[in-house]
Symmetry: C2
Subunit: 245 residues, 2 copies
């Protein structure tokens, strides 16, 4: 936490209690989640390997996004810290790192800092090493969500949000008035309860389906090849699945 | 074709031309597809390894379905033949065999009999060898649809219908008035056109999304782990995805 003076408000409109969020990752997804949570009055810290280096990054982000330096200067209510400090200070963590980096990011965050924490794992194990389209680096009989849960058994991993793009994650109502579906899975019922409340109350998800334990991350991660193709086909990431039943 | 005397009608209601269908496989899925197509006036032959043996099967089918002998006796407008005769006599084939058996079934049908034929591949490479839930015997960088297309390059494989259960395949309107999505993919545009017409005009699918070439079968087959879980969770197979965009 290298930026003091931020005030956390209790929002009258929602009567929610502000929480301390730690976002692991500073890319587009992390920024989108951080901006949304901060706008709602939550205390938000983004984690990175080397905060000074990250703050100095002046090259543009992906897809024409602003540099991190510019983005950080414009979002004065968001803190930046090491992965470890971010994890230790947070009540709820969001894994917004790229799938290939996630296990190293959690390692840097530290098992002790992760113990007992609710972690929304929104990453996908996309492997671009053979070009486009990506394959999955883990699938079928295992998943990234399970790998993280196994490596950090005291963290309370909830796999969710990995089936939509960042804008839809935090604003599902922007598509079809929110008439589409989000999945959650994880081993800890209380953690799923916290995650579901964030999805519903902070982000506005109306249809949230609990698939069961963390092994169900296989199913939602294995949707990614279809997602990638639909993205190419539709020419927009503003789409999602509705579970019709 | 061991049962003569069947008459094919030109249906006044649809003005469709009856076609000769061959269904590879005599299980629940094959029977459901066969019954629907025959009811619409198409000429339908089911393929099996040994027609005499299949006709004699008096043990009940899966999930309490009637024995094949009883079912066959009750469906006098449907023919039974070898895989080879079924393939050779058909204009359009449907692969309704189990995924693990599909390549052997196509081998028995014979490359020469498959050449030029439109084949709706509706099977999934489910592997139950380690119990339930099944994993996929092929996924991520390959798919059953691609395996079949590679092994029989002159067949015109269209992957479709593998994302829903048999009843929904032929009667999508039974769920939410048909307001949900079916995918097709394959290398042959004309074959996809034939498949799409069958889906729309014979079965009633309203939202059919062409994903591209046969490699897209990876995406729809990799949806199966999620499907299997949703089936368990919902307690019914009467569900599907709607692509909201």
């Amino acid at each position: 936490m290298d930026r003091g003076g931020s005030t956390v408000y209790l929002l009258d409109t929602t009567q929610e209690v502000p929480m301390k969020f730690g976002i692991l990752g500073t890319g587009t997804v992390g920024r989108t989640i951080a901006r949304k949570l901060a706008s709602l009055g939550h205390e938000v810290t983004m984690g990175t390997r080397d905060p000074s280096a990250t703050k100095g990054r002046s090259e543009p982000g992906a897809w024409g996004a602003p540099s991190f330096a510019d983005w950080y200067a414009a979002n004065t209510d968001i803190h930046l810290a090491t992965f470890a400090d971010t994890a230790s200070g947070a009540e709820v963590l969001v894994n917004a790192s790229s799938g290939g980096a996630s296990l190293a990011v959690f390692e840097a965050a530290g098992a002790a800092n992760l113990a007992g924490k609710v972690v929304l794992d929104i990453a996908n194990p996309l492997d671009f090493s053979n070009g486009f389209p990506p394959s999955l680096s883990v699938s079928n009989t295992d998943s990234l969500g399970e790998q993280i849960q196994r490596a950090f058994p005291e963290a309370r991993i909830v796999k969710t949000l990995n089936t939509v793009n960042a804008d839809l994650m935090v604003n599902p109502a922007s598509l079809a008035d929110g008439d589409h579906t989000m999945f959650v899975c994880g081993n800890d019922a209380d953690a799923k309860g916290v995650a579901t409340r964030i999805l519903a109350e902070d982000f506005g998800w109306k249809d949230i389906v609990d698939l069961g334990d963390i092994t169900q991350a296989r199913g939602t991660e294995m949707y990614l090849p279809l997602w990638v193709r639909l993205y190419g086909k539709l020419g927009t990431a503003a789409f999602n699945l509705k579970l019709v039943r």
